[in-house]
């Protein structure tokens, strides 16, 4: 290996450690017996896990978050991919305005968005509803989808599509069999962003939540002024384990295939 490549690996390894470090601090913290976040724990216990599974508030909010995030991912993938295709390939009026509009949700501080949609949604009866959350979170998530999908479309070689068409494929099957697979990494990236943007969104969530519907991050945030409930560490640890399990399975499957 060239020295440059070694330096690159060292830097990447350090970056990886930096990325996961706070996450792995959370694991032991979640097993602490103390009612404060504590590292390293002085005594161990599983009480925060028990709390998660016995307190319906936690489970309900976790399910609500999951439901909202899945819907947001689907909706923003559909809207975002269509828009990205239009923006990269199309010809339309007011380009600058449309680009600005699409980027705006990232630009405007979430608190302002939160207050704005709260005032409007109160009138419409959309606060504390799945639909209300999905609409707002989609607006916040969709720029990430547009950006990731467009950047994979920009480096996309359209001659591949022309080739497929000239071989007799219709536009729909060309899109499904040629275009989609090639921009799949962009779509996957966009989907992850959209899901996470929704799943971890607390600032507008605080406004939209209430006794009828509360999402997980809002539940985590709700007592923060007074004291953090270490159950949040337990929830994070479990989410982490699920993610790692999904990765390991995907990795194994891929290995078996090849």
């Amino acid at each position: 290996m060239r020295p440059g490549r070694i330096a690159l690996w060292v830097l990447a390894a350090l970056t990886a450690v930096y990325l996961v470090l706070p996450v792995f601090i959370v694991i032991p913290t979640s097993f602490s017996a103390s009612s404060f976040l504590e590292f390293p724990p002085k005594e161990w216990s599983g009480r925060w896990y028990e709390n998660f599974f016995t307190d319906p508030v936690w489970l309900d909010s976790a399910l609500a978050s999951l439901r909202v995030a899945v819907l947001v991912t689907l909706l923003s993938l559909v809207l975002g991919t269509a828009a990205a295709l239009g923006m990269v390939r199309g010809r339309y009026r007011l380009r600058a305005l449309v680009s600005g509009l699409v980027m705006a949700p990232v630009l405007v501080p979430y608190v302002i968005v939160g207050l704005a949609v709260y005032a409007t949604f109160l009138e419409l009866g959309l606060t504390q509803t799945t639909l209300g959350f999905v609409l707002v979170h989609t607006a916040l998530a969709v720029p990430y989808v547009v950006i990731t999908v467009s950047s994979s479309l920009v480096s996309f070689d359209r001659r591949l599509e022309q080739a497929a068409m000239s071989l007799g494929a219709g536009p729909v099957s060309t899109f499904a069999r040629v275009t989609l697979p090639l921009i799949a990494p962009g779509l996957a990236g966009g989907a992850v962003f959209a899901f996470v943007t929704s799943f971890d969104e607390v600032v507008t969530g605080v406004f939209l939540s209430g006794p009828d519907l509360t999402t997980l991050p809002v539940q985590m945030w709700s007592g923060v002024r007074v004291q953090i409930d270490p159950t949040v560490a337990a929830v994070s640890t479990m989410l982490l384990l699920v993610t790692l399990a999904v990765f390991a399975t995907a990795g194994l499957l891929r290995r078996r295939k090849s």
């Binding site: 404060f36 909202v68 005032a119 799945t130 004291q227």
Partner: protein, 348 residues
């Protein structure tokens, strides 16, 4: 994706959307209470509200935490779902002046058993707490630690960082003035210039905290061995085995209040509960036992576990050491202005 899967996906999307949420409906016997959240709220609701609700056949709904922007937005859009809301008293005054909160009907809510200073036109007190001198017991001993705000500001005699809340109503100005020699009964209206001059003397040693959690982390780790804290947080940390203690001398008495947002359709029910709460010595004592925040009705005091009672600001032995009750009428009038100066001072 084929057309069929597309249709299925959209149908699924709609179905999923439809199954969430749902609204409270117009149940006449439903009361929504809003507090700061967390374990503390659970204990409050269990002690203060649930027994009453059960006996009256009322359904209790909870929301948290209190957010003044949400409060105001609900009132302005005339869609009020919050019933009894725990707030800081300066907000209660502001909300009352702006017509955002319901004026309490004193015929329906009997406030005669609580301190008159703690009652507003729109608000009744819900708990009392204190800003104490909290110290780390590894850094200082029970005999040798700052016992007055003057000593708290004396970094030569008691070295180490000092913690304060980063909001103007955290009694930081009151403490600075007392430390600078202003007599207890001459604190208000606060001489903010003088307070800043005093604060300047220890500015480099000040650490500002945002949350109760940070308060506990800062002091028990010893990072900030002295902190102007909420007595109940320190009590909880000590109970958890952390090396921390409250010094009660020269504490500032503070309190939270309950208000009812204007336009709440069941304001009468909320007042009915409020009236019950103020006289509910048993419920107040039960909460005090767990949180070490004091009952607002002094008759509840004898019902509190003696071990906890000595950690309450209303315990006679502690009450004698009180420096002042925080004057939230002053703060309602001056909060904006002082906050602006305070931010500027902290940033420089």
């Amino acid at each position: 994706m084929s057309r069929r899967t597309m249709v299925a996906a959209v149908a699924g999307l709609l179905a999923l959307t439809a199954c969430g949420g749902g609204s409270g409906g117009a149940d006449a016997k439903e009361l929504t209470v809003v507090m700061w959240g967390g374990d503390d709220q659970k204990r409050s609701v269990a002690a203060w509200i649930e027994p009453w609700a059960k006996s009256k056949g009322v359904t209790v709904k909870q929301d948290s935490p209190t957010d003044y922007a949400k409060f105001r937005a609900q009132v302005e859009s005339k869609k009020v779902s919050w019933g009894a809301v725990e707030v800081e008293p300066n907000f209660a005054v502001t909300a009352c002046q702006n017509g955002w909160a319901v004026k309490l009907d004193k015929a329906k809510v009997d406030t005669s058993m609580v301190k008159p200073e703690l009652v507003g036109d729109c608000a009744a007190p819900v708990l009392e707490y204190a800003f104490t001198i909290a110290y780390n017991t590894k850094a200082f001993t029970a005999e040798n630690h700052p016992k007055t705000w003057a000593e708290f500001f004396d970094t030569a005699k008691f070295p180490g960082k000092r913690g304060f809340w980063k909001y103007a109503t955290g009694a930081i100005f009151e403490a600075a003035l007392l430390a600078d020699g202003v007599p207890r009964d001459k604190l208000y209206p606060l001489d903010i210039d003088r307070a800043f001059r005093k604060l300047d003397t220890i500015k480099k040693d000040i650490v500002f905290y945002e949350t109760g959690e940070q308060q506990q982390q800062l002091i028990s780790s010893g990072e900030t061995p002295l902190i102007q804290a909420w007595n109940g947080r320190i009590f909880a940390a000590a109970k958890d085995g952390q090396p921390v203690a409250n010094e009660w001398n020269e504490h500032f008495l503070s309190y939270d209040q309950l208000v009812i947002p204007a336009g709440y359709p069941r304001a009468d029910l909320a007042m009915e509960w409020l009236n019950h709460f103020l006289s509910d010595t048993k419920g107040q004592a039960q909460y005090a036992n767990q949180a070490a925040y004091a009952p607002v009705n002094d008759k509840a005091l004898p019902l509190v576990d003696p071990q906890v009672r000595k950690e309450l600001p209303t315990d006679p032995a502690n009450a004698k050491k009180r420096a002042a009750i925080i004057d939230y009428t002053y703060w309602a009038a001056n909060y904006d202005k002082v906050t602006e100066r305070f931010n500027e001072w902290m940033a420089r």
